[in-house]
């Protein structure tokens, strides 16, 4: 159990920065995924098809 001490600020800062960066990374990836799915849906709605859609390549 953590006891109050002189170095608490360093411990708290390390954990807070870690959470902020990891949550930021997660949000960035989620937003990017939604953006790509929206663009894909828009293109499909316009009737655009990939040339390789039948062979299931990226």
């Amino acid at each position: 159990m953590i006891a109050p001490g002189t170095h608490d600020g360093f411990i708290i800062a390390a954990y807070v920065i870690a959470v902020v960066v990891l949550v930021g990374l997660f949000v960035w990836i989620v937003v990017d995924g939604r953006t790509q799915r929206r663009r894909l849906a828009e293109l499909e709605a316009r009737g655009v098809r990939r040339r390789s859609a039948g062979s299931s390549k990226a």
Partner: protein, 241 residues
Amino acid sequence: MPIIDLANPTRFLAFSGRVLPWLWALAAIGLAVGLYLGLFVAPPDFKQGDTVRIMFIHVPFAWLSMACYGTMAVAALGTLVWRHPLADVLQKSAAPIGAAFTFLALVTGSLWGKPTWGTYWVWDARLTSVLILLLIYLGLIALWQAVEDPGRAARAAAILTLVGAVNVPIIKFSVDWWNTLHQGESIFVAGGPLIDPSMLWPLFVMAVGMTVLFAALLLMAMRNEILRRRVRAMQIVAAGG
């Protein structure tokens, strides 16, 4: 399903879609248990006091910063030898995640160093080689952004990744090869870990939880990159290219 079948992007999307919820659940459980053990059960160090609790995030970040690069180096071989699109996708998707984990290893190490060593930073071999790793990650991200054609970008990034791979063993053995302020190896040593089990177990649980989190983030980023390539291919078709 044979593992090689997953190298097909469409099958990879289906497989990763099924696996991801399990990975998120495992990561949440692992990190919750690890944080509880690390912050509330593990005792303070007899010299460092509670600042040793930074170890429970610093060490997994440092391990994963190197593991991510190792994964990218294997993918770089897949790009150059087999020219497989999923290897390109892995290379590109892993770079920002590796950069974030390396940044966190440096920042948490710096915040641990100040109360322990009396300084946030020294230009010793371990710290400097990890900073170089971060710069390599940033260089790779810039390279991916600079080259428009994904195939050419992948080959250029693969070469840079393999050249930069020489830095990983330097990071690992820097504390043995040079006299560094950073402490020497204390876990994977002959005769067993030098850390007491009361701290080693929370560290192990945090490392497992963080590794599963890394895997989940990587799979999500890879799925995004596959979709981005499909969008690009469809835009070329729509433009009559």
